[in-house]
Symmetry: C2
Subunit: 320 residues, 2 copies
Protein backbone atom coordinates (compact mmCIF):
# COMPACT_ATOMS: atom_id res chain seq x y z
CA UNK A 1 0.00 0.00 0.00
CA UNK A 2 1.25 3.46 -0.91
CA UNK A 3 2.45 5.25 2.17
CA UNK A 4 2.84 8.86 1.22
CA UNK A 5 1.24 11.79 -0.47
CA UNK A 6 3.08 14.53 -2.30
CA UNK A 7 1.94 18.05 -1.57
CA UNK A 8 2.88 20.83 -3.99
CA UNK A 9 2.53 24.47 -2.97
CA UNK A 10 2.74 26.48 -6.17
CA UNK A 11 3.45 30.14 -5.46
CA UNK A 12 4.32 33.12 -7.60
CA UNK A 13 7.96 33.10 -6.47
CA UNK A 14 8.65 29.58 -5.19
CA UNK A 15 7.42 26.04 -5.55
CA UNK A 16 7.46 23.98 -2.38
CA UNK A 17 7.03 20.23 -2.70
CA UNK A 18 6.95 17.76 0.17
CA UNK A 19 6.43 14.10 0.87
CA UNK A 20 3.78 13.98 3.56
CA UNK A 21 2.59 11.06 5.68
CA UNK A 22 -1.09 10.39 6.20
CA UNK A 23 -0.67 11.86 9.67
CA UNK A 24 0.38 15.18 8.18
CA UNK A 25 4.09 14.84 8.94
CA UNK A 26 6.63 16.07 6.41
CA UNK A 27 9.18 13.43 5.43
CA UNK A 28 11.12 15.62 3.04
CA UNK A 29 10.64 19.07 1.56
CA UNK A 30 12.16 20.69 -1.53
CA UNK A 31 12.02 24.30 -2.68
CA UNK A 32 12.70 25.60 -6.20
CA UNK A 33 12.11 29.01 -7.77
CA UNK A 34 8.87 29.28 -9.78
CA UNK A 35 10.42 31.47 -12.50
CA UNK A 36 6.92 32.75 -13.23
CA UNK A 37 8.17 35.46 -15.57
CA UNK A 38 9.62 32.81 -17.88
CA UNK A 39 6.14 31.65 -18.71
CA UNK A 40 3.84 28.78 -18.26
CA UNK A 41 5.80 25.94 -19.86
CA UNK A 42 8.83 26.71 -17.72
CA UNK A 43 6.79 26.78 -14.53
CA UNK A 44 5.19 23.43 -15.34
CA UNK A 45 8.65 21.99 -16.00
CA UNK A 46 9.83 23.34 -12.66
CA UNK A 47 6.92 21.67 -10.87
CA UNK A 48 7.69 18.32 -12.48
CA UNK A 49 11.39 18.70 -11.76
CA UNK A 50 10.77 19.61 -8.12
CA UNK A 51 8.70 16.47 -7.61
CA UNK A 52 11.39 14.30 -9.22
CA UNK A 53 14.10 15.93 -7.11
CA UNK A 54 11.99 15.43 -4.01
CA UNK A 55 11.58 11.70 -4.66
CA UNK A 56 15.29 11.29 -5.35
CA UNK A 57 16.43 13.28 -2.34
CA UNK A 58 14.09 11.33 -0.07
CA UNK A 59 14.96 8.01 -1.73
CA UNK A 60 11.26 7.26 -1.99
CA UNK A 61 10.11 5.28 -5.05
CA UNK A 62 7.13 6.61 -6.98
CA UNK A 63 5.28 3.42 -6.07
CA UNK A 64 5.19 4.61 -2.45
CA UNK A 65 3.20 7.67 -3.50
CA UNK A 66 -0.57 7.41 -3.39
CA UNK A 67 -1.50 10.76 -4.90
CA UNK A 68 -0.30 14.28 -5.61
CA UNK A 69 -2.10 17.31 -4.21
CA UNK A 70 -1.50 20.76 -5.63
CA UNK A 71 -2.37 24.07 -4.02
CA UNK A 72 -2.29 26.67 -6.79
CA UNK A 73 -2.94 30.40 -6.90
CA UNK A 74 -6.64 31.00 -7.65
CA UNK A 75 -8.88 31.19 -9.46
CA UNK A 76 -8.98 27.51 -10.33
CA UNK A 77 -11.68 25.15 -11.54
CA UNK A 78 -11.59 22.49 -8.85
CA UNK A 79 -13.27 19.53 -10.53
CA UNK A 80 -11.45 20.00 -13.80
CA UNK A 81 -8.14 20.72 -12.06
CA UNK A 82 -7.62 23.76 -14.22
CA UNK A 83 -5.68 26.86 -13.19
CA UNK A 84 -7.47 29.84 -14.75
CA UNK A 85 -5.48 33.10 -14.81
CA UNK A 86 -3.75 33.91 -11.50
CA UNK A 87 -2.35 37.46 -11.42
CA UNK A 88 1.00 36.15 -10.15
CA UNK A 89 1.43 33.56 -12.92
CA UNK A 90 1.67 35.68 -16.06
CA UNK A 91 0.70 33.92 -19.27
CA UNK A 92 -1.43 31.31 -17.54
CA UNK A 93 -4.90 30.86 -18.95
CA UNK A 94 -6.91 27.71 -18.27
CA UNK A 95 -3.91 25.45 -17.68
CA UNK A 96 -5.03 21.81 -17.11
CA UNK A 97 -2.35 21.24 -14.48
CA UNK A 98 -4.14 18.26 -12.94
CA UNK A 99 -4.19 16.41 -16.25
CA UNK A 100 -0.58 17.34 -17.03
CA UNK A 101 0.72 16.00 -13.71
CA UNK A 102 -1.51 12.92 -13.75
CA UNK A 103 -0.15 12.01 -17.17
CA UNK A 104 3.45 12.70 -16.12
CA UNK A 105 3.40 10.65 -12.90
CA UNK A 106 0.45 8.32 -13.52
CA UNK A 107 -0.98 9.18 -10.14
CA UNK A 108 -4.23 10.61 -8.90
CA UNK A 109 -3.87 14.39 -8.77
CA UNK A 110 -6.10 16.77 -6.81
CA UNK A 111 -5.79 20.50 -7.41
CA UNK A 112 -7.43 23.39 -5.63
CA UNK A 113 -6.58 26.96 -4.76
CA UNK A 114 -3.93 27.40 -2.08
CA UNK A 115 -6.24 28.85 0.57
CA UNK A 116 -8.67 25.94 0.26
CA UNK A 117 -5.76 23.51 0.50
CA UNK A 118 -4.41 25.23 3.60
CA UNK A 119 -7.89 25.23 5.18
CA UNK A 120 -8.11 21.46 4.74
CA UNK A 121 -4.60 21.06 6.15
CA UNK A 122 -5.48 23.17 9.20
CA UNK A 123 -8.67 21.17 9.64
CA UNK A 124 -6.89 17.83 9.52
CA UNK A 125 -3.69 18.69 11.40
CA UNK A 126 -3.77 22.30 12.58
CA UNK A 127 -5.75 24.82 14.61
CA UNK A 128 -9.09 23.44 13.49
CA UNK A 129 -8.52 19.77 14.23
CA UNK A 130 -11.88 18.31 15.21
CA UNK A 131 -13.89 21.42 14.29
CA UNK A 132 -16.82 21.17 11.88
CA UNK A 133 -17.25 24.87 11.06
CA UNK A 134 -14.23 27.06 10.63
CA UNK A 135 -12.61 29.61 8.39
CA UNK A 136 -8.95 29.78 7.43
CA UNK A 137 -7.72 33.12 6.17
CA UNK A 138 -4.30 33.81 4.78
CA UNK A 139 -3.08 37.39 4.99
CA UNK A 140 0.01 37.98 2.90
CA UNK A 141 0.52 39.89 -0.37
CA UNK A 142 -3.14 39.16 -0.97
CA UNK A 143 -5.91 37.77 1.23
CA UNK A 144 -7.47 34.37 0.59
CA UNK A 145 -9.79 32.11 2.49
CA UNK A 146 -11.05 28.58 2.84
CA UNK A 147 -14.40 27.89 4.48
CA UNK A 148 -15.23 24.57 6.09
CA UNK A 149 -18.90 24.08 6.80
CA UNK A 150 -20.31 21.01 8.44
CA UNK A 151 -16.96 19.27 8.04
CA UNK A 152 -16.71 19.93 4.32
CA UNK A 153 -14.79 22.49 2.35
CA UNK A 154 -17.21 24.91 0.74
CA UNK A 155 -16.58 25.17 -2.96
CA UNK A 156 -19.95 26.50 -4.00
CA UNK A 157 -21.61 26.17 -7.35
CA UNK A 158 -18.50 26.13 -9.54
CA UNK A 159 -15.59 25.83 -7.12
CA UNK A 160 -14.92 29.51 -6.57
CA UNK A 161 -16.24 29.99 -3.03
CA UNK A 162 -14.06 31.47 -0.31
CA UNK A 163 -12.87 34.60 -2.08
CA UNK A 164 -13.00 36.53 1.18
CA UNK A 165 -10.23 38.89 0.06
CA UNK A 166 -12.57 40.46 -2.46
CA UNK A 167 -15.32 41.26 -0.01
CA UNK A 168 -15.83 45.02 -0.44
CA UNK A 169 -15.69 46.80 2.90
CA UNK A 170 -14.75 50.36 1.93
CA UNK A 171 -16.41 51.26 -1.39
CA UNK A 172 -14.50 54.50 -1.75
CA UNK A 173 -11.21 52.88 -0.77
CA UNK A 174 -8.15 52.28 -2.93
CA UNK A 175 -8.32 50.11 -6.01
CA UNK A 176 -7.68 46.40 -5.51
CA UNK A 177 -5.68 44.17 -7.86
CA UNK A 178 -9.04 42.78 -9.05
CA UNK A 179 -10.03 46.20 -10.37
CA UNK A 180 -12.68 47.00 -7.76
CA UNK A 181 -12.37 49.44 -4.89
CA UNK A 182 -12.05 48.78 -1.19
CA UNK A 183 -11.82 44.98 -1.17
CA UNK A 184 -10.58 43.51 2.12
CA UNK A 185 -7.35 42.70 0.26
CA UNK A 186 -6.93 46.36 -0.68
CA UNK A 187 -7.41 47.43 2.94
CA UNK A 188 -5.67 44.82 5.09
CA UNK A 189 -3.11 42.77 3.12
CA UNK A 190 0.66 43.13 3.17
CA UNK A 191 0.48 45.12 -0.05
CA UNK A 192 -2.19 47.37 1.43
CA UNK A 193 0.04 48.06 4.43
CA UNK A 194 3.01 48.84 2.18
CA UNK A 195 0.95 51.06 -0.11
CA UNK A 196 -0.47 53.08 2.75
CA UNK A 197 2.97 53.46 4.31
CA UNK A 198 4.43 54.72 1.03
CA UNK A 199 1.64 57.26 0.65
CA UNK A 200 2.01 58.53 4.21
CA UNK A 201 5.80 58.77 3.97
CA UNK A 202 5.54 61.34 1.20
CA UNK A 203 4.46 63.91 3.76
CA UNK A 204 6.06 62.38 6.82
CA UNK A 205 9.79 62.23 6.28
CA UNK A 206 10.60 61.66 9.94
CA UNK A 207 9.17 58.21 10.33
CA UNK A 208 11.60 55.46 11.19
CA UNK A 209 10.20 53.53 8.23
CA UNK A 210 12.03 55.78 5.82
CA UNK A 211 15.30 55.24 7.66
CA UNK A 212 14.82 51.47 7.70
CA UNK A 213 14.26 51.57 3.94
CA UNK A 214 17.52 53.43 3.44
CA UNK A 215 15.70 56.64 2.58
CA UNK A 216 14.06 55.06 -0.46
CA UNK A 217 10.27 55.10 -0.18
CA UNK A 218 9.94 52.57 -2.98
CA UNK A 219 11.72 49.99 -0.81
CA UNK A 220 9.17 50.18 2.02
CA UNK A 221 7.24 46.93 2.48
CA UNK A 222 5.04 45.40 5.16
CA UNK A 223 8.11 44.15 7.02
CA UNK A 224 9.52 47.68 7.14
CA UNK A 225 6.29 48.87 8.72
CA UNK A 226 6.36 46.02 11.21
CA UNK A 227 9.99 46.68 12.20
CA UNK A 228 9.36 50.39 12.62
CA UNK A 229 6.25 49.72 14.71
CA UNK A 230 8.22 47.38 16.98
CA UNK A 231 10.72 50.19 17.51
CA UNK A 232 7.89 52.47 18.55
CA UNK A 233 7.31 54.46 15.36
CA UNK A 234 3.85 55.92 15.83
CA UNK A 235 2.96 56.26 12.14
CA UNK A 236 3.88 52.63 11.53
CA UNK A 237 1.77 51.57 14.50
CA UNK A 238 -1.18 53.54 13.18
CA UNK A 239 -0.90 51.94 9.76
CA UNK A 240 -0.80 48.46 11.23
CA UNK A 241 -3.74 49.16 13.51
CA UNK A 242 -5.78 50.50 10.65
CA UNK A 243 -5.13 47.45 8.46
CA UNK A 244 -5.80 45.10 11.36
CA UNK A 245 -9.11 46.83 12.13
CA UNK A 246 -10.19 46.43 8.52
CA UNK A 247 -9.27 42.77 8.71
CA UNK A 248 -11.38 42.55 11.87
CA UNK A 249 -14.28 44.14 10.01
CA UNK A 250 -13.98 41.47 7.32
CA UNK A 251 -13.89 38.79 10.02
CA UNK A 252 -16.99 40.28 11.67
CA UNK A 253 -18.84 40.09 8.36
CA UNK A 254 -17.84 36.44 8.00
CA UNK A 255 -18.89 35.72 11.58
CA UNK A 256 -22.31 37.28 10.99
CA UNK A 257 -22.78 35.40 7.73
CA UNK A 258 -21.36 32.00 8.69
CA UNK A 259 -21.27 31.75 12.50
CA UNK A 260 -18.12 29.61 12.52
CA UNK A 261 -16.66 27.89 15.58
CA UNK A 262 -13.27 29.39 14.87
CA UNK A 263 -11.25 31.54 12.51
CA UNK A 264 -7.56 30.84 12.00
CA UNK A 265 -5.27 33.42 10.46
CA UNK A 266 -2.13 32.52 8.57
CA UNK A 267 0.15 34.03 5.94
CA UNK A 268 3.15 36.32 6.09
CA UNK A 269 1.43 39.32 7.68
CA UNK A 270 0.34 37.20 10.64
CA UNK A 271 4.00 36.74 11.57
CA UNK A 272 3.55 40.15 13.20
CA UNK A 273 1.70 38.18 15.88
CA UNK A 274 -0.30 39.90 18.56
CA UNK A 275 0.51 43.36 17.16
CA UNK A 276 -1.76 42.52 14.21
CA UNK A 277 -3.98 39.81 15.67
CA UNK A 278 -4.86 41.90 18.74
CA UNK A 279 -6.61 44.84 17.03
CA UNK A 280 -8.06 42.53 14.37
CA UNK A 281 -9.66 40.31 16.99
CA UNK A 282 -10.92 43.29 18.97
CA UNK A 283 -12.61 44.76 15.88
CA UNK A 284 -14.03 41.38 14.87
CA UNK A 285 -15.74 40.98 18.24
CA UNK A 286 -16.96 44.59 18.41
CA UNK A 287 -18.40 44.52 14.91
CA UNK A 288 -20.17 41.15 14.96
CA UNK A 289 -23.45 40.31 16.61
CA UNK A 290 -23.81 38.65 19.96
CA UNK A 291 -23.69 35.74 20.80
CA UNK A 292 -21.39 34.90 17.87
CA UNK A 293 -19.15 37.80 18.81
CA UNK A 294 -18.33 36.09 22.09
CA UNK A 295 -18.33 32.45 21.07
CA UNK A 296 -16.08 32.43 18.03
CA UNK A 297 -12.42 31.56 18.55
CA UNK A 298 -9.97 33.78 16.68
CA UNK A 299 -6.45 32.37 16.58
CA UNK A 300 -3.28 32.19 14.55
CA UNK A 301 -3.29 29.21 12.23
CA UNK A 302 -0.93 26.45 13.31
CA UNK A 303 0.85 25.02 10.29
CA UNK A 304 2.77 28.18 9.40
CA UNK A 305 5.10 27.89 6.41
CA UNK A 306 4.09 24.28 5.93
CA UNK A 307 0.38 25.00 5.59
CA UNK A 308 0.76 25.02 1.81
CA UNK A 309 2.34 21.59 1.31
CA UNK A 310 0.49 19.86 4.14
CA UNK A 311 -2.75 21.41 2.86
CA UNK A 312 -2.00 20.29 -0.69
CA UNK A 313 -1.49 16.77 0.64
CA UNK A 314 -4.72 17.07 2.65
CA UNK A 315 -6.58 17.70 -0.62
CA UNK A 316 -5.95 14.03 -1.40
CA UNK A 317 -7.40 12.90 1.93
CA UNK A 318 -10.54 15.01 1.84
CA UNK A 319 -13.90 13.52 2.84
CA UNK A 320 -16.40 14.48 0.22
CA UNK B 1 -51.49 9.80 9.29
CA UNK B 2 -51.41 13.53 9.97
CA UNK B 3 -51.92 15.47 6.78
CA UNK B 4 -50.99 19.03 7.53
CA UNK B 5 -48.42 21.28 9.06
CA UNK B 6 -49.13 24.60 10.70
CA UNK B 7 -46.81 27.44 9.78
CA UNK B 8 -46.67 30.50 12.00
CA UNK B 9 -45.05 33.70 10.76
CA UNK B 10 -44.49 35.86 13.83
CA UNK B 11 -43.86 39.47 12.89
CA UNK B 12 -43.58 42.70 14.82
CA UNK B 13 -47.01 43.90 13.67
CA UNK B 14 -48.92 40.79 12.61
CA UNK B 15 -49.04 37.07 13.20
CA UNK B 16 -49.85 34.97 10.16
CA UNK B 17 -50.79 31.34 10.71
CA UNK B 18 -51.61 28.83 8.01
CA UNK B 19 -52.46 25.21 7.53
CA UNK B 20 -50.07 23.98 4.89
CA UNK B 21 -50.01 20.71 2.96
CA UNK B 22 -46.84 18.73 2.51
CA UNK B 23 -46.75 20.05 -1.05
CA UNK B 24 -46.53 23.60 0.21
CA UNK B 25 -50.11 24.57 -0.53
CA UNK B 26 -52.00 26.76 1.88
CA UNK B 27 -55.33 25.29 2.99
CA UNK B 28 -56.32 28.17 5.23
CA UNK B 29 -54.62 31.30 6.52
CA UNK B 30 -55.43 33.54 9.48
CA UNK B 31 -53.97 36.92 10.41
CA UNK B 32 -54.12 38.58 13.83
CA UNK B 33 -52.31 41.64 15.19
CA UNK B 34 -49.18 40.87 17.20
CA UNK B 35 -49.81 43.63 19.77
CA UNK B 36 -46.09 43.60 20.44
CA UNK B 37 -46.25 46.73 22.60
CA UNK B 38 -48.53 44.91 25.05
CA UNK B 39 -45.68 42.64 25.98
CA UNK B 40 -44.55 39.10 25.74
CA UNK B 41 -47.39 37.26 27.50
CA UNK B 42 -49.99 38.93 25.29
CA UNK B 43 -48.07 38.07 22.11
CA UNK B 44 -47.77 34.44 23.16
CA UNK B 45 -51.51 34.37 23.87
CA UNK B 46 -52.16 35.85 20.43
CA UNK B 47 -50.07 33.13 18.77
CA UNK B 48 -51.96 30.39 20.59
CA UNK B 49 -55.29 32.02 19.81
CA UNK B 50 -54.43 32.43 16.13
CA UNK B 51 -53.62 28.72 15.83
CA UNK B 52 -56.89 27.75 17.55
CA UNK B 53 -58.86 30.13 15.31
CA UNK B 54 -57.11 28.73 12.26
CA UNK B 55 -58.07 25.14 13.16
CA UNK B 56 -61.65 26.12 13.84
CA UNK B 57 -62.05 28.20 10.69
CA UNK B 58 -60.59 25.42 8.57
CA UNK B 59 -62.56 22.74 10.43
CA UNK B 60 -59.37 20.74 10.75
CA UNK B 61 -58.96 18.65 13.93
CA UNK B 62 -55.68 18.97 15.81
CA UNK B 63 -55.10 15.27 15.11
CA UNK B 64 -54.64 16.12 11.43
CA UNK B 65 -51.69 18.33 12.32
CA UNK B 66 -48.25 16.72 12.25
CA UNK B 67 -46.19 19.61 13.56
CA UNK B 68 -46.03 23.35 14.04
CA UNK B 69 -43.28 25.46 12.49
CA UNK B 70 -42.58 28.98 13.68
CA UNK B 71 -40.60 31.65 11.87
CA UNK B 72 -39.72 34.27 14.48
CA UNK B 73 -37.79 37.52 14.38
CA UNK B 74 -34.11 36.80 15.11
CA UNK B 75 -31.92 36.30 16.92
CA UNK B 76 -33.14 32.88 18.02
CA UNK B 77 -31.45 29.80 19.41
CA UNK B 78 -32.53 27.19 16.88
CA UNK B 79 -32.00 23.94 18.76
CA UNK B 80 -33.48 25.23 21.97
CA UNK B 81 -36.32 26.98 20.14
CA UNK B 82 -35.71 30.13 22.13
CA UNK B 83 -36.41 33.64 20.88
CA UNK B 84 -33.66 35.87 22.27
CA UNK B 85 -34.35 39.62 22.11
CA UNK B 86 -35.73 40.79 18.76
CA UNK B 87 -35.76 44.59 18.43
CA UNK B 88 -39.39 44.49 17.23
CA UNK B 89 -40.66 42.40 20.14
CA UNK B 90 -40.09 44.65 23.16
CA UNK B 91 -39.77 42.85 26.47
CA UNK B 92 -38.75 39.55 24.92
CA UNK B 93 -35.65 37.98 26.39
CA UNK B 94 -34.92 34.29 25.93
CA UNK B 95 -38.54 33.22 25.45
CA UNK B 96 -38.79 29.39 25.12
CA UNK B 97 -41.53 29.66 22.50
CA UNK B 98 -40.94 26.16 21.16
CA UNK B 99 -41.50 24.61 24.57
CA UNK B 100 -44.55 26.82 25.25
CA UNK B 101 -46.27 25.83 22.01
CA UNK B 102 -45.27 22.16 22.26
CA UNK B 103 -46.85 22.02 25.72
CA UNK B 104 -49.96 23.87 24.59
CA UNK B 105 -50.69 21.75 21.51
CA UNK B 106 -48.76 18.55 22.31
CA UNK B 107 -47.16 18.64 18.89
CA UNK B 108 -43.63 18.74 17.61
CA UNK B 109 -42.61 22.39 17.23
CA UNK B 110 -39.70 23.68 15.15
CA UNK B 111 -38.65 27.31 15.51
CA UNK B 112 -36.11 29.31 13.57
CA UNK B 113 -35.66 32.89 12.47
CA UNK B 114 -38.01 34.09 9.74
CA UNK B 115 -35.37 34.44 7.02
CA UNK B 116 -34.14 30.88 7.55
CA UNK B 117 -37.71 29.64 7.42
CA UNK B 118 -38.41 31.53 4.20
CA UNK B 119 -35.17 30.19 2.67
CA UNK B 120 -36.30 26.63 3.36
CA UNK B 121 -39.74 27.41 1.92
CA UNK B 122 -38.21 28.88 -1.23
CA UNK B 123 -35.95 25.85 -1.52
CA UNK B 124 -38.81 23.38 -1.20
CA UNK B 125 -41.51 25.21 -3.16
CA UNK B 126 -40.16 28.48 -4.58
CA UNK B 127 -37.43 29.99 -6.74
CA UNK B 128 -34.79 27.58 -5.50
CA UNK B 129 -36.65 24.32 -6.01
CA UNK B 130 -34.05 21.71 -6.87
CA UNK B 131 -31.05 23.93 -6.13
CA UNK B 132 -28.38 22.82 -3.69
CA UNK B 133 -26.64 26.14 -3.08
CA UNK B 134 -28.67 29.29 -2.81
CA UNK B 135 -29.25 32.39 -0.75
CA UNK B 136 -32.58 33.92 0.15
CA UNK B 137 -32.52 37.54 1.20
CA UNK B 138 -35.45 39.50 2.51
CA UNK B 139 -35.31 43.26 2.06
CA UNK B 140 -37.97 45.05 4.07
CA UNK B 141 -37.72 47.20 7.21
CA UNK B 142 -34.55 45.26 7.89
CA UNK B 143 -32.49 42.84 5.82
CA UNK B 144 -32.22 39.15 6.68
CA UNK B 145 -30.90 36.09 4.95
CA UNK B 146 -30.99 32.33 4.84
CA UNK B 147 -28.13 30.38 3.27
CA UNK B 148 -28.57 26.90 1.89
CA UNK B 149 -25.32 25.08 1.24
CA UNK B 150 -25.13 21.61 -0.20
CA UNK B 151 -28.87 21.22 0.28
CA UNK B 152 -28.82 22.16 3.95
CA UNK B 153 -29.68 25.35 5.73
CA UNK B 154 -26.53 26.83 7.21
CA UNK B 155 -26.99 27.54 10.89
CA UNK B 156 -23.35 27.64 11.89
CA UNK B 157 -21.88 26.94 15.27
CA UNK B 158 -24.78 28.16 17.42
CA UNK B 159 -27.63 28.78 14.98
CA UNK B 160 -26.93 32.41 14.19
CA UNK B 161 -25.57 32.16 10.65
CA UNK B 162 -27.11 34.15 7.82
CA UNK B 163 -27.08 37.61 9.38
CA UNK B 164 -26.31 39.14 6.03
CA UNK B 165 -28.04 42.40 6.94
CA UNK B 166 -25.27 43.18 9.39
CA UNK B 167 -22.44 42.81 6.93
CA UNK B 168 -20.61 46.14 7.13
CA UNK B 169 -20.16 47.65 3.68
CA UNK B 170 -19.75 51.36 4.42
CA UNK B 171 -17.84 51.82 7.70
CA UNK B 172 -18.45 55.54 7.84
CA UNK B 173 -22.12 55.14 6.91
CA UNK B 174 -25.17 55.82 9.07
CA UNK B 175 -25.74 53.93 12.28
CA UNK B 176 -27.67 50.67 12.01
CA UNK B 177 -30.30 49.45 14.47
CA UNK B 178 -27.65 47.03 15.77
CA UNK B 179 -25.47 49.93 16.90
CA UNK B 180 -22.75 49.57 14.28
CA UNK B 181 -22.20 51.78 11.25
CA UNK B 182 -22.80 51.04 7.59
CA UNK B 183 -24.36 47.59 7.82
CA UNK B 184 -26.10 46.46 4.62
CA UNK B 185 -29.37 46.98 6.48
CA UNK B 186 -28.45 50.60 7.19
CA UNK B 187 -27.67 51.20 3.51
CA UNK B 188 -30.24 49.25 1.51
CA UNK B 189 -33.34 48.38 3.57
CA UNK B 190 -36.74 50.05 3.45
CA UNK B 191 -35.82 52.04 6.55
CA UNK B 192 -32.54 53.10 4.96
CA UNK B 193 -34.41 54.36 1.90
CA UNK B 194 -36.87 56.28 4.07
CA UNK B 195 -34.13 57.74 6.23
CA UNK B 196 -32.11 58.94 3.26
CA UNK B 197 -35.21 60.44 1.65
CA UNK B 198 -36.08 62.34 4.84
CA UNK B 199 -32.56 63.73 5.09
CA UNK B 200 -32.50 64.83 1.45
CA UNK B 201 -35.95 66.42 1.64
CA UNK B 202 -34.76 68.89 4.25
CA UNK B 203 -32.86 70.74 1.56
CA UNK B 204 -34.94 69.70 -1.42
CA UNK B 205 -38.47 70.93 -0.93
CA UNK B 206 -39.47 70.48 -4.54
CA UNK B 207 -39.37 66.72 -4.71
CA UNK B 208 -42.64 64.97 -5.42
CA UNK B 209 -41.98 62.86 -2.34
CA UNK B 210 -42.85 65.76 -0.08
CA UNK B 211 -46.12 66.31 -1.91
CA UNK B 212 -47.02 62.63 -1.72
CA UNK B 213 -46.41 62.74 2.02
CA UNK B 214 -48.81 65.68 2.37
CA UNK B 215 -45.94 68.06 3.03
CA UNK B 216 -44.95 66.19 6.20
CA UNK B 217 -41.38 64.87 5.97
CA UNK B 218 -41.95 62.55 8.92
CA UNK B 219 -44.56 60.66 6.89
CA UNK B 220 -42.16 59.75 4.09
CA UNK B 221 -41.51 56.01 3.87
CA UNK B 222 -40.03 53.63 1.29
CA UNK B 223 -43.37 53.43 -0.50
CA UNK B 224 -43.43 57.23 -0.88
CA UNK B 225 -40.00 57.08 -2.49
CA UNK B 226 -41.12 54.29 -4.80
CA UNK B 227 -44.28 56.14 -5.87
CA UNK B 228 -42.36 59.36 -6.51
CA UNK B 229 -39.75 57.49 -8.53
CA UNK B 230 -42.44 55.87 -10.67
CA UNK B 231 -43.78 59.34 -11.41
CA UNK B 232 -40.34 60.40 -12.56
CA UNK B 233 -39.03 62.23 -9.49
CA UNK B 234 -35.28 62.32 -10.01
CA UNK B 235 -34.29 62.56 -6.34
CA UNK B 236 -36.45 59.54 -5.51
CA UNK B 237 -34.89 57.60 -8.38
CA UNK B 238 -31.41 58.46 -7.16
CA UNK B 239 -32.21 57.30 -3.65
CA UNK B 240 -33.57 53.99 -4.89
CA UNK B 241 -30.59 53.46 -7.19
CA UNK B 242 -28.18 54.15 -4.39
CA UNK B 243 -29.84 51.68 -2.02
CA UNK B 244 -30.09 49.07 -4.76
CA UNK B 245 -26.41 49.46 -5.59
CA UNK B 246 -25.48 48.92 -1.95
CA UNK B 247 -27.66 45.82 -1.93
CA UNK B 248 -25.80 44.66 -5.04
CA UNK B 249 -22.50 45.22 -3.26
CA UNK B 250 -23.70 43.01 -0.41
CA UNK B 251 -24.78 40.38 -2.94
CA UNK B 252 -21.38 40.56 -4.65
CA UNK B 253 -19.68 39.92 -1.31
CA UNK B 254 -21.90 36.91 -0.73
CA UNK B 255 -21.23 35.64 -4.26
CA UNK B 256 -17.47 35.91 -3.71
CA UNK B 257 -17.66 34.20 -0.35
CA UNK B 258 -20.21 31.47 -1.11
CA UNK B 259 -20.43 31.04 -4.91
CA UNK B 260 -24.14 30.17 -4.82
CA UNK B 261 -26.16 28.89 -7.78
CA UNK B 262 -28.78 31.53 -7.20
CA UNK B 263 -29.87 34.41 -5.00
CA UNK B 264 -33.56 35.11 -4.49
CA UNK B 265 -34.75 38.43 -3.14
CA UNK B 266 -37.98 38.84 -1.22
CA UNK B 267 -39.53 41.22 1.29
CA UNK B 268 -41.52 44.42 0.96
CA UNK B 269 -38.87 46.50 -0.80
CA UNK B 270 -38.65 43.96 -3.61
CA UNK B 271 -42.24 44.76 -4.55
CA UNK B 272 -40.62 47.67 -6.38
CA UNK B 273 -39.64 45.01 -8.90
CA UNK B 274 -37.19 45.75 -11.68
CA UNK B 275 -36.68 49.34 -10.51
CA UNK B 276 -34.84 47.94 -7.48
CA UNK B 277 -33.75 44.52 -8.74
CA UNK B 278 -32.20 45.96 -11.93
CA UNK B 279 -29.51 48.18 -10.41
CA UNK B 280 -28.93 45.67 -7.58
CA UNK B 281 -28.26 42.86 -10.04
CA UNK B 282 -26.04 45.07 -12.19
CA UNK B 283 -23.91 46.03 -9.19
CA UNK B 284 -23.77 42.44 -7.94
CA UNK B 285 -22.37 41.24 -11.24
CA UNK B 286 -19.94 44.16 -11.64
CA UNK B 287 -18.59 43.79 -8.12
CA UNK B 288 -18.14 40.03 -7.94
CA UNK B 289 -15.37 37.97 -9.49
CA UNK B 290 -15.66 36.09 -12.73
CA UNK B 291 -16.85 33.37 -13.41
CA UNK B 292 -19.26 33.58 -10.45
CA UNK B 293 -20.34 37.03 -11.60
CA UNK B 294 -21.76 35.53 -14.77
CA UNK B 295 -23.04 32.20 -13.53
CA UNK B 296 -25.11 33.17 -10.51
CA UNK B 297 -28.84 33.64 -11.01
CA UNK B 298 -30.31 36.70 -9.31
CA UNK B 299 -34.11 36.65 -9.17
CA UNK B 300 -37.10 37.75 -7.16
CA UNK B 301 -38.15 35.11 -4.66
CA UNK B 302 -41.35 33.32 -5.57
CA UNK B 303 -43.48 32.80 -2.49
CA UNK B 304 -44.11 36.49 -1.83
CA UNK B 305 -46.36 37.24 1.14
CA UNK B 306 -46.70 33.55 1.86
CA UNK B 307 -42.97 32.90 2.21
CA UNK B 308 -43.28 33.29 5.98
CA UNK B 309 -45.97 30.70 6.67
CA UNK B 310 -44.88 28.25 3.98
CA UNK B 311 -41.30 28.61 5.17
CA UNK B 312 -42.36 28.05 8.78
CA UNK B 313 -44.10 24.86 7.66
CA UNK B 314 -41.01 23.88 5.67
CA UNK B 315 -39.00 23.99 8.91
CA UNK B 316 -40.90 20.84 9.92
CA UNK B 317 -39.99 19.08 6.68
CA UNK B 318 -36.30 19.92 6.67
CA UNK B 319 -33.73 17.26 5.80
CA UNK B 320 -31.03 17.43 8.38
Amino acid sequence: MAKYIIGVDLGGTKILSAIVTKNGNIVKKVQVPTQASRGRARVVKNIVRSIRTLLMDARVPLSDIEAIGVGAPGPVLFKEGVVLNPPNLPGWKRVPLKKILAREFRKKVVLDNDANAAALGEGAFGFAKGLKNFIFITVSTGIGGGLVIDGKLLRGAWGGAGEVGHMIIEPSGPRCGCGRRGCLEAMASGSAIARLAKAKLKTNKRSLMLKLAGGDISKVNAKTVEDAARSGDSLAKKIINRAARYLGMGLANLINILAPDAIGLGGGVMKMGQMFLGPAEKAARELSLSPAAKLVKIVRAKLGEDAGVIGAAALCMENK
